[in-house]
Symmetry: D2
Subunit: 137 residues, 4 copies
Protein backbone atom coordinates (compact mmCIF):
# COMPACT_ATOMS: atom_id res chain seq x y z
CA UNK A 1 0.00 0.00 0.00
CA UNK A 2 1.28 3.44 -0.86
CA UNK A 3 0.64 6.13 1.70
CA UNK A 4 0.69 9.65 0.38
CA UNK A 5 -0.75 13.08 0.99
CA UNK A 6 -1.12 16.30 -0.97
CA UNK A 7 -0.99 19.67 0.73
CA UNK A 8 -1.51 23.11 -0.82
CA UNK A 9 0.73 25.97 0.27
CA UNK A 10 0.42 29.61 -0.72
CA UNK A 11 3.82 31.24 -1.25
CA UNK A 12 4.39 34.09 1.19
CA UNK A 13 5.84 37.42 0.12
CA UNK A 14 8.46 37.05 2.86
CA UNK A 15 9.59 33.73 1.37
CA UNK A 16 10.71 35.25 -1.92
CA UNK A 17 14.26 36.50 -2.37
CA UNK A 18 15.80 39.30 -4.40
CA UNK A 19 15.80 37.08 -7.50
CA UNK A 20 11.99 37.14 -7.10
CA UNK A 21 11.87 33.40 -6.46
CA UNK A 22 11.24 31.45 -3.29
CA UNK A 23 14.52 31.35 -1.34
CA UNK A 24 15.80 27.78 -1.53
CA UNK A 25 15.85 27.28 2.24
CA UNK A 26 12.13 27.94 2.48
CA UNK A 27 11.41 24.72 0.60
CA UNK A 28 12.29 22.92 3.84
CA UNK A 29 9.27 24.62 5.40
CA UNK A 30 7.15 23.30 2.56
CA UNK A 31 8.52 19.79 3.05
CA UNK A 32 7.71 20.05 6.74
CA UNK A 33 4.20 21.25 5.91
CA UNK A 34 3.84 18.23 3.65
CA UNK A 35 5.19 15.85 6.27
CA UNK A 36 2.90 17.26 8.91
CA UNK A 37 -0.13 17.13 6.65
CA UNK A 38 0.74 13.49 6.00
CA UNK A 39 1.06 12.98 9.74
CA UNK A 40 -2.36 14.47 10.43
CA UNK A 41 -3.96 12.29 7.76
CA UNK A 42 -2.33 9.03 8.87
CA UNK A 43 -1.97 9.59 12.61
CA UNK A 44 1.72 10.35 12.68
CA UNK A 45 1.80 14.09 13.42
CA UNK A 46 4.43 15.66 15.70
CA UNK A 47 2.03 16.11 18.58
CA UNK A 48 0.79 12.55 18.23
CA UNK A 49 4.33 11.18 18.22
CA UNK A 50 5.25 13.36 21.21
CA UNK A 51 2.32 11.90 23.10
CA UNK A 52 4.25 8.60 22.94
CA UNK A 53 7.23 10.30 24.54
CA UNK A 54 9.31 10.13 21.40
CA UNK A 55 11.05 12.85 19.42
CA UNK A 56 11.65 12.50 15.68
CA UNK A 57 14.42 14.90 14.66
CA UNK A 58 15.62 15.13 11.06
CA UNK A 59 18.98 13.49 10.42
CA UNK A 60 19.15 13.90 6.66
CA UNK A 61 17.45 16.02 4.10
CA UNK A 62 18.00 16.75 0.48
CA UNK A 63 16.26 18.85 -2.08
CA UNK A 64 16.59 19.17 -5.86
CA UNK A 65 15.34 22.41 -7.33
CA UNK A 66 13.81 22.17 -10.80
CA UNK A 67 11.69 25.24 -11.49
CA UNK A 68 11.39 28.23 -9.18
CA UNK A 69 8.23 29.15 -7.34
CA UNK A 70 7.31 32.82 -7.34
CA UNK A 71 5.16 35.13 -5.28
CA UNK A 72 1.58 34.57 -6.33
CA UNK A 73 2.14 30.84 -6.86
CA UNK A 74 0.48 28.08 -4.92
CA UNK A 75 2.58 24.98 -4.31
CA UNK A 76 1.34 21.43 -3.88
CA UNK A 77 3.54 19.17 -1.79
CA UNK A 78 3.08 15.47 -2.35
CA UNK A 79 4.53 13.48 0.54
CA UNK A 80 5.07 9.74 0.27
CA UNK A 81 6.04 7.33 3.03
CA UNK A 82 9.07 5.21 2.10
CA UNK A 83 8.87 1.76 3.59
CA UNK A 84 12.04 0.51 5.31
CA UNK A 85 13.10 -1.96 7.96
CA UNK A 86 15.20 0.36 10.09
CA UNK A 87 14.10 2.44 13.08
CA UNK A 88 13.76 5.39 10.76
CA UNK A 89 11.04 7.53 9.21
CA UNK A 90 11.71 8.21 5.55
CA UNK A 91 9.63 10.37 3.22
CA UNK A 92 10.03 11.52 -0.30
CA UNK A 93 8.43 14.59 -1.74
CA UNK A 94 7.45 16.24 -4.97
CA UNK A 95 6.59 19.91 -4.94
CA UNK A 96 4.39 21.03 -7.83
CA UNK A 97 3.53 24.50 -9.03
CA UNK A 98 -0.25 24.33 -8.90
CA UNK A 99 -1.07 26.44 -11.93
CA UNK A 100 0.56 24.07 -14.41
CA UNK A 101 1.48 21.08 -12.21
CA UNK A 102 5.10 21.40 -13.31
CA UNK A 103 7.54 19.88 -10.84
CA UNK A 104 9.24 22.62 -8.85
CA UNK A 105 11.37 20.46 -6.58
CA UNK A 106 11.84 16.96 -5.23
CA UNK A 107 13.27 15.92 -1.90
CA UNK A 108 13.75 13.22 0.68
CA UNK A 109 14.05 13.27 4.44
CA UNK A 110 15.07 10.83 7.13
CA UNK A 111 14.12 11.03 10.80
CA UNK A 112 15.15 8.92 13.78
CA UNK A 113 13.44 8.19 17.07
CA UNK A 114 14.83 9.73 20.26
CA UNK A 115 13.81 9.62 23.87
CA UNK A 116 13.05 13.03 25.42
CA UNK A 117 16.54 12.72 26.98
CA UNK A 118 18.05 12.55 23.51
CA UNK A 119 18.89 8.85 23.45
CA UNK A 120 18.64 7.19 20.04
CA UNK A 121 16.17 4.30 19.77
CA UNK A 122 17.82 1.50 17.81
CA UNK A 123 14.58 -0.37 17.28
CA UNK A 124 11.27 1.13 16.28
CA UNK A 125 9.11 2.19 19.23
CA UNK A 126 5.93 0.18 19.77
CA UNK A 127 3.55 2.83 18.54
CA UNK A 128 5.43 2.92 15.24
CA UNK A 129 5.42 -0.86 14.87
CA UNK A 130 1.65 -0.72 15.44
CA UNK A 131 1.31 2.16 13.00
CA UNK A 132 3.12 0.21 10.27
CA UNK A 133 0.94 -2.83 10.90
CA UNK A 134 -2.21 -0.76 10.77
CA UNK A 135 -1.34 0.74 7.40
CA UNK A 136 0.33 -2.37 6.01
CA UNK A 137 3.64 -0.71 5.24
CA UNK B 1 23.35 55.94 34.30
CA UNK B 2 22.52 54.99 30.74
CA UNK B 3 23.00 51.37 29.80
CA UNK B 4 23.48 50.71 26.14
CA UNK B 5 25.10 48.29 23.74
CA UNK B 6 26.03 48.28 20.07
CA UNK B 7 25.93 45.12 18.01
CA UNK B 8 26.99 44.63 14.39
CA UNK B 9 24.87 42.43 12.14
CA UNK B 10 25.65 41.38 8.59
CA UNK B 11 22.53 41.30 6.41
CA UNK B 12 21.85 37.79 5.10
CA UNK B 13 20.86 37.11 1.51
CA UNK B 14 17.84 35.21 2.79
CA UNK B 15 16.65 38.28 4.70
CA UNK B 16 16.20 40.42 1.59
CA UNK B 17 12.88 40.47 -0.25
CA UNK B 18 11.92 40.91 -3.88
CA UNK B 19 12.18 44.72 -3.53
CA UNK B 20 15.88 43.98 -2.80
CA UNK B 21 15.59 45.36 0.73
CA UNK B 22 15.55 43.59 4.08
CA UNK B 23 12.02 42.26 4.63
CA UNK B 24 10.47 44.36 7.39
CA UNK B 25 9.79 41.41 9.68
CA UNK B 26 13.48 40.54 9.81
CA UNK B 27 14.19 43.73 11.73
CA UNK B 28 12.67 41.97 14.74
CA UNK B 29 15.54 39.49 14.53
CA UNK B 30 17.97 42.39 14.57
CA UNK B 31 16.23 43.91 17.60
CA UNK B 32 16.48 40.56 19.34
CA UNK B 33 20.17 40.33 18.44
CA UNK B 34 20.62 43.80 19.96
CA UNK B 35 18.66 42.88 23.08
CA UNK B 36 20.63 39.70 23.55
CA UNK B 37 23.97 41.44 22.98
CA UNK B 38 22.88 43.94 25.64
CA UNK B 39 21.97 41.02 27.90
CA UNK B 40 25.35 39.37 27.50
CA UNK B 41 27.14 42.63 28.29
CA UNK B 42 25.08 43.49 31.36
CA UNK B 43 24.20 40.05 32.70
CA UNK B 44 20.61 39.91 31.50
CA UNK B 45 20.75 37.39 28.67
CA UNK B 46 17.96 34.89 28.04
CA UNK B 47 19.90 31.96 29.48
CA UNK B 48 20.86 33.98 32.54
CA UNK B 49 17.26 35.01 33.15
CA UNK B 50 16.08 31.42 32.63
CA UNK B 51 18.54 30.27 35.27
CA UNK B 52 16.39 32.29 37.72
CA UNK B 53 13.36 30.29 36.60
CA UNK B 54 11.78 33.26 34.86
CA UNK B 55 10.61 33.72 31.27
CA UNK B 56 10.56 37.13 29.63
CA UNK B 57 8.20 37.03 26.63
CA UNK B 58 7.61 40.08 24.47
CA UNK B 59 4.25 41.77 25.03
CA UNK B 60 4.68 44.77 22.79
CA UNK B 61 6.94 45.73 19.96
CA UNK B 62 7.03 48.52 17.45
CA UNK B 63 9.33 49.46 14.65
CA UNK B 64 9.61 52.56 12.47
CA UNK B 65 11.35 52.03 9.15
CA UNK B 66 13.38 54.99 7.87
CA UNK B 67 15.84 53.82 5.22
CA UNK B 68 16.05 50.29 3.88
CA UNK B 69 18.96 47.96 4.49
CA UNK B 70 20.18 45.99 1.50
CA UNK B 71 22.16 42.86 0.88
CA UNK B 72 25.83 43.72 1.38
CA UNK B 73 25.01 46.14 4.22
CA UNK B 74 26.11 45.76 7.80
CA UNK B 75 23.67 47.01 10.43
CA UNK B 76 24.52 48.37 13.85
CA UNK B 77 21.83 47.91 16.48
CA UNK B 78 22.05 50.26 19.45
CA UNK B 79 20.00 48.93 22.35
CA UNK B 80 19.17 51.13 25.34
CA UNK B 81 17.58 50.08 28.61
CA UNK B 82 14.58 52.25 29.49
CA UNK B 83 14.22 52.73 33.22
CA UNK B 84 10.73 52.16 34.64
CA UNK B 85 9.05 51.28 37.93
CA UNK B 86 6.87 48.46 36.66
CA UNK B 87 7.67 44.74 36.56
CA UNK B 88 8.63 45.17 32.92
CA UNK B 89 11.73 45.15 30.75
CA UNK B 90 11.69 48.01 28.25
CA UNK B 91 14.28 48.70 25.56
CA UNK B 92 14.54 51.17 22.77
CA UNK B 93 16.60 50.66 19.66
CA UNK B 94 18.22 52.49 16.82
CA UNK B 95 19.39 50.50 13.81
CA UNK B 96 22.09 52.21 11.75
CA UNK B 97 23.41 51.36 8.32
CA UNK B 98 27.10 51.00 9.11
CA UNK B 99 28.58 52.43 5.94
CA UNK B 100 27.14 55.92 6.50
CA UNK B 101 25.63 55.64 9.99
CA UNK B 102 22.27 56.75 8.62
CA UNK B 103 19.34 55.63 10.77
CA UNK B 104 17.63 52.69 9.15
CA UNK B 105 14.97 52.05 11.80
CA UNK B 106 13.99 52.72 15.38
CA UNK B 107 11.99 50.55 17.71
CA UNK B 108 10.86 49.77 21.23
CA UNK B 109 10.00 46.56 23.01
CA UNK B 110 8.36 45.60 26.28
CA UNK B 111 8.75 42.28 28.06
CA UNK B 112 7.10 40.91 31.18
CA UNK B 113 8.21 38.31 33.72
CA UNK B 114 6.48 34.92 33.78
CA UNK B 115 6.92 31.79 35.83
CA UNK B 116 7.72 28.68 33.79
CA UNK B 117 4.02 27.82 34.29
CA UNK B 118 3.04 30.99 32.49
CA UNK B 119 1.91 33.02 35.49
CA UNK B 120 2.54 36.76 35.25
CA UNK B 121 4.77 38.26 37.96
CA UNK B 122 3.20 41.51 39.13
CA UNK B 123 6.31 42.64 40.96
CA UNK B 124 9.86 42.44 39.69
CA UNK B 125 11.61 39.17 40.58
CA UNK B 126 14.47 39.46 43.08
CA UNK B 127 17.25 38.92 40.57
CA UNK B 128 15.93 41.87 38.53
CA UNK B 129 15.66 44.13 41.59
CA UNK B 130 19.28 43.25 42.35
CA UNK B 131 20.26 43.84 38.74
CA UNK B 132 18.72 47.30 38.75
CA UNK B 133 20.52 48.15 42.01
CA UNK B 134 23.81 46.91 40.67
CA UNK B 135 23.61 49.10 37.58
CA UNK B 136 21.91 52.05 39.29
CA UNK B 137 18.92 52.12 36.96
CA UNK C 1 -18.24 51.31 4.92
CA UNK C 2 -15.91 49.05 6.82
CA UNK C 3 -13.61 46.88 4.76
CA UNK C 4 -12.30 43.81 6.47
CA UNK C 5 -11.08 40.32 5.79
CA UNK C 6 -10.50 37.17 7.80
CA UNK C 7 -7.74 34.73 6.97
CA UNK C 8 -6.95 31.39 8.59
CA UNK C 9 -3.33 30.46 9.19
CA UNK C 10 -2.03 27.14 10.49
CA UNK C 11 0.92 27.58 12.86
CA UNK C 12 4.06 25.94 11.49
CA UNK C 13 6.37 23.85 13.65
CA UNK C 14 9.27 26.03 12.52
CA UNK C 15 7.48 29.14 13.82
CA UNK C 16 7.47 27.99 17.43
CA UNK C 17 10.36 28.84 19.75
CA UNK C 18 11.94 27.08 22.69
CA UNK C 19 9.21 28.42 25.02
CA UNK C 20 6.85 26.33 22.82
CA UNK C 21 5.01 29.42 21.61
CA UNK C 22 5.07 31.17 18.26
CA UNK C 23 8.19 33.37 18.15
CA UNK C 24 7.01 36.97 18.37
CA UNK C 25 8.61 38.01 15.09
CA UNK C 26 6.56 35.46 13.18
CA UNK C 27 3.38 37.40 13.92
CA UNK C 28 4.57 39.88 11.28
CA UNK C 29 4.22 37.08 8.74
CA UNK C 30 0.67 36.52 9.93
CA UNK C 31 -0.09 40.24 9.63
CA UNK C 32 1.30 40.17 6.10
CA UNK C 33 -0.83 37.13 5.29
CA UNK C 34 -3.84 39.05 6.58
CA UNK C 35 -2.94 42.15 4.60
CA UNK C 36 -2.43 40.16 1.44
CA UNK C 37 -5.68 38.24 1.90
CA UNK C 38 -7.41 41.60 2.29
CA UNK C 39 -5.64 42.78 -0.86
CA UNK C 40 -6.81 39.79 -2.88
CA UNK C 41 -10.38 40.28 -1.71
CA UNK C 42 -10.54 44.01 -2.39
CA UNK C 43 -8.16 44.36 -5.34
CA UNK C 44 -5.19 45.77 -3.47
CA UNK C 45 -2.72 42.89 -3.47
CA UNK C 46 1.02 43.40 -3.88
CA UNK C 47 1.07 42.18 -7.47
CA UNK C 48 -1.93 44.35 -8.33
CA UNK C 49 -0.29 47.42 -6.81
CA UNK C 50 3.00 46.63 -8.58
CA UNK C 51 1.13 46.50 -11.87
CA UNK C 52 0.53 50.24 -11.33
CA UNK C 53 4.27 50.74 -10.99
CA UNK C 54 4.05 51.53 -7.31
CA UNK C 55 5.76 49.94 -4.31
CA UNK C 56 4.17 49.96 -0.86
CA UNK C 57 6.86 49.34 1.76
CA UNK C 58 6.05 49.25 5.45
CA UNK C 59 7.11 52.35 7.38
CA UNK C 60 5.63 51.51 10.76
CA UNK C 61 4.40 48.42 12.46
CA UNK C 62 3.39 47.55 15.97
CA UNK C 63 2.13 44.47 17.65
CA UNK C 64 0.69 43.77 21.11
CA UNK C 65 0.91 40.19 22.27
CA UNK C 66 -1.97 38.98 24.47
CA UNK C 67 -2.05 35.20 24.52
CA UNK C 68 0.51 32.95 22.87
CA UNK C 69 -0.21 30.75 19.90
CA UNK C 70 1.19 27.24 20.04
CA UNK C 71 2.00 24.50 17.59
CA UNK C 72 -1.24 22.81 16.65
CA UNK C 73 -3.17 26.10 16.79
CA UNK C 74 -4.87 27.76 13.86
CA UNK C 75 -4.85 31.55 13.87
CA UNK C 76 -7.44 33.84 12.33
CA UNK C 77 -6.18 37.23 11.24
CA UNK C 78 -8.80 39.93 10.91
CA UNK C 79 -7.49 42.82 8.81
CA UNK C 80 -9.32 46.13 8.72
CA UNK C 81 -8.65 49.08 6.43
CA UNK C 82 -8.22 52.33 8.37
CA UNK C 83 -9.52 55.29 6.43
CA UNK C 84 -7.22 58.33 6.30
CA UNK C 85 -6.58 61.38 4.15
CA UNK C 86 -2.83 60.97 3.73
CA UNK C 87 -0.99 59.14 0.96
CA UNK C 88 -0.73 56.15 3.26
CA UNK C 89 -2.14 52.66 3.60
CA UNK C 90 -3.10 51.89 7.19
CA UNK C 91 -4.44 48.61 8.52
CA UNK C 92 -5.26 47.33 11.92
CA UNK C 93 -5.36 43.69 12.87
CA UNK C 94 -6.69 41.29 15.42
CA UNK C 95 -5.24 37.80 15.56
CA UNK C 96 -7.52 35.21 17.16
CA UNK C 97 -6.77 31.71 18.32
CA UNK C 98 -9.35 29.79 16.34
CA UNK C 99 -10.24 27.12 18.87
CA UNK C 100 -11.67 29.58 21.42
CA UNK C 101 -11.59 32.88 19.49
CA UNK C 102 -9.50 34.43 22.25
CA UNK C 103 -7.48 37.41 21.07
CA UNK C 104 -3.85 36.40 20.63
CA UNK C 105 -2.49 39.72 19.38
CA UNK C 106 -3.43 43.07 17.89
CA UNK C 107 -1.42 45.24 15.56
CA UNK C 108 -1.32 48.14 13.16
CA UNK C 109 0.74 48.86 10.08
CA UNK C 110 1.40 51.86 7.88
CA UNK C 111 2.66 51.75 4.30
CA UNK C 112 3.63 54.51 1.90
CA UNK C 113 3.69 54.69 -1.88
CA UNK C 114 7.03 54.70 -3.69
CA UNK C 115 8.06 54.82 -7.30
CA UNK C 116 10.16 51.85 -8.44
CA UNK C 117 13.11 54.27 -8.13
CA UNK C 118 12.34 54.70 -4.45
CA UNK C 119 10.85 58.18 -4.58
CA UNK C 120 8.10 58.86 -2.04
CA UNK C 121 4.69 59.82 -3.47
CA UNK C 122 3.32 62.71 -1.43
CA UNK C 123 -0.16 62.37 -2.86
CA UNK C 124 -2.07 59.16 -3.37
CA UNK C 125 -1.50 57.56 -6.79
CA UNK C 126 -4.50 57.56 -9.15
CA UNK C 127 -5.25 53.88 -8.81
CA UNK C 128 -5.54 54.29 -5.05
CA UNK C 129 -7.81 57.34 -5.34
CA UNK C 130 -10.01 55.25 -7.64
CA UNK C 131 -9.85 52.32 -5.26
CA UNK C 132 -11.02 54.46 -2.34
CA UNK C 133 -13.87 55.87 -4.42
CA UNK C 134 -14.93 52.40 -5.54
CA UNK C 135 -15.17 51.12 -1.97
CA UNK C 136 -16.44 54.37 -0.47
CA UNK C 137 -13.64 54.70 2.07
CA UNK D 1 45.06 23.79 -4.22
CA UNK D 2 42.25 23.52 -1.70
CA UNK D 3 40.14 26.59 -1.26
CA UNK D 4 38.31 26.83 2.02
CA UNK D 5 36.91 29.30 4.48
CA UNK D 6 35.75 29.24 8.08
CA UNK D 7 32.94 31.46 9.30
CA UNK D 8 31.63 31.86 12.85
CA UNK D 9 27.87 32.15 13.39
CA UNK D 10 26.11 32.86 16.65
CA UNK D 11 22.88 30.87 16.99
CA UNK D 12 19.84 33.17 17.23
CA UNK D 13 17.06 32.59 19.74
CA UNK D 14 14.59 32.69 16.86
CA UNK D 15 16.40 29.83 15.13
CA UNK D 16 15.76 27.34 17.92
CA UNK D 17 12.63 25.18 17.90
CA UNK D 18 10.47 23.72 20.62
CA UNK D 19 12.91 20.80 21.05
CA UNK D 20 15.38 23.54 22.11
CA UNK D 21 17.66 22.81 19.16
CA UNK D 22 18.26 24.77 15.97
CA UNK D 23 15.41 24.03 13.57
CA UNK D 24 16.87 21.88 10.78
CA UNK D 25 15.90 24.29 8.02
CA UNK D 26 17.99 27.05 9.57
CA UNK D 27 21.16 25.13 8.76
CA UNK D 28 20.61 26.22 5.16
CA UNK D 29 21.12 29.80 6.34
CA UNK D 30 24.37 28.75 7.95
CA UNK D 31 25.49 27.03 4.73
CA UNK D 32 24.66 30.20 2.84
CA UNK D 33 26.61 32.26 5.36
CA UNK D 34 29.54 29.93 4.83
CA UNK D 35 29.25 30.09 1.05
CA UNK D 36 29.06 33.85 1.11
CA UNK D 37 32.00 34.17 3.48
CA UNK D 38 33.93 31.96 1.06
CA UNK D 39 32.80 34.20 -1.78
CA UNK D 40 33.99 37.35 -0.04
CA UNK D 41 37.37 35.79 0.67
CA UNK D 42 37.96 34.44 -2.84
CA UNK D 43 36.12 36.98 -4.97
CA UNK D 44 33.01 34.93 -5.71
CA UNK D 45 30.33 36.64 -3.62
CA UNK D 46 26.74 37.04 -4.85
CA UNK D 47 27.15 40.74 -5.58
CA UNK D 48 30.42 40.09 -7.41
CA UNK D 49 28.84 37.37 -9.54
CA UNK D 50 25.80 39.57 -10.24
CA UNK D 51 28.14 42.27 -11.49
CA UNK D 52 28.98 39.85 -14.31
CA UNK D 53 25.29 39.62 -15.13
CA UNK D 54 25.00 36.06 -13.95
CA UNK D 55 22.72 34.46 -11.37
CA UNK D 56 23.77 31.37 -9.43
CA UNK D 57 20.65 29.69 -8.03
CA UNK D 58 20.89 26.52 -5.97
CA UNK D 59 19.82 23.36 -7.82
CA UNK D 60 20.66 20.79 -5.20
CA UNK D 61 21.36 20.82 -1.51
CA UNK D 62 21.73 18.20 1.12
CA UNK D 63 22.43 18.23 4.79
CA UNK D 64 23.26 15.50 7.32
CA UNK D 65 22.54 16.35 10.93
CA UNK D 66 24.91 14.84 13.48
CA UNK D 67 24.66 16.73 16.76
CA UNK D 68 22.19 19.52 17.45
CA UNK D 69 23.18 23.14 17.97
CA UNK D 70 21.48 24.94 20.82
CA UNK D 71 20.81 28.51 21.82
CA UNK D 72 24.00 29.88 23.30
CA UNK D 73 26.16 27.91 20.85
CA UNK D 74 28.44 29.40 18.25
CA UNK D 75 28.76 27.46 15.01
CA UNK D 76 31.73 27.36 12.69
CA UNK D 77 30.96 26.66 9.05
CA UNK D 78 33.82 25.34 6.99
CA UNK D 79 33.14 25.75 3.28
CA UNK D 80 35.23 23.97 0.69
CA UNK D 81 35.19 24.48 -3.07
CA UNK D 82 34.74 21.19 -4.95
CA UNK D 83 36.59 21.20 -8.25
CA UNK D 84 34.62 19.96 -11.25
CA UNK D 85 34.59 20.30 -15.02
CA UNK D 86 30.93 21.19 -15.47
CA UNK D 87 29.37 24.66 -15.57
CA UNK D 88 28.50 24.26 -11.92
CA UNK D 89 29.53 25.62 -8.56
CA UNK D 90 29.86 22.89 -5.96
CA UNK D 91 30.68 23.31 -2.29
CA UNK D 92 30.84 21.01 0.63
CA UNK D 93 30.47 22.04 4.21
CA UNK D 94 31.17 20.98 7.75
CA UNK D 95 29.42 22.77 10.58
CA UNK D 96 31.20 22.53 13.93
CA UNK D 97 29.96 23.41 17.39
CA UNK D 98 32.66 25.84 18.44
CA UNK D 99 32.88 24.98 22.12
CA UNK D 100 34.10 21.42 21.50
CA UNK D 101 34.63 21.38 17.72
CA UNK D 102 32.29 18.40 17.44
CA UNK D 103 30.74 18.06 14.00
CA UNK D 104 27.16 19.27 14.07
CA UNK D 105 26.30 18.77 10.40
CA UNK D 106 27.76 18.25 6.96
CA UNK D 107 26.33 19.29 3.63
CA UNK D 108 26.86 19.86 -0.06
CA UNK D 109 25.36 22.30 -2.51
CA UNK D 110 25.32 22.70 -6.28
CA UNK D 111 24.61 25.92 -8.17
CA UNK D 112 24.27 26.62 -11.86
CA UNK D 113 24.82 29.76 -13.91
CA UNK D 114 21.81 31.59 -15.33
CA UNK D 115 21.38 34.71 -17.39
CA UNK D 116 19.22 37.38 -15.74
CA UNK D 117 16.48 36.14 -18.12
CA UNK D 118 16.70 32.72 -16.53
CA UNK D 119 18.50 30.91 -19.33
CA UNK D 120 20.88 28.16 -18.24
CA UNK D 121 24.53 28.59 -19.24
CA UNK D 122 25.82 25.25 -20.48
CA UNK D 123 29.45 26.34 -20.36
CA UNK D 124 31.11 28.25 -17.56
CA UNK D 125 30.94 32.03 -18.00
CA UNK D 126 34.26 33.78 -18.70
CA UNK D 127 34.62 35.32 -15.28
CA UNK D 128 34.36 31.87 -13.70
CA UNK D 129 36.90 30.35 -16.09
CA UNK D 130 39.24 33.20 -15.11
CA UNK D 131 38.45 32.69 -11.46
CA UNK D 132 39.34 28.99 -11.66
CA UNK D 133 42.61 29.81 -13.44
CA UNK D 134 43.50 32.42 -10.87
CA UNK D 135 43.07 30.03 -7.98
CA UNK D 136 44.38 26.96 -9.79
CA UNK D 137 41.25 24.90 -9.26
Amino acid sequence: MELKDRKEIIVRFSEVDSMRIVWHGNYLKYLEDGRESFGLRYGLGYLEVYSHNVLIPLVKINCDYKRPLEYGDTAIVETRYVSNEAAKLIFDYTIYRKKDMEVSATGTSMQVFLTPQGELLLTSPDFFVDWKKKWGV
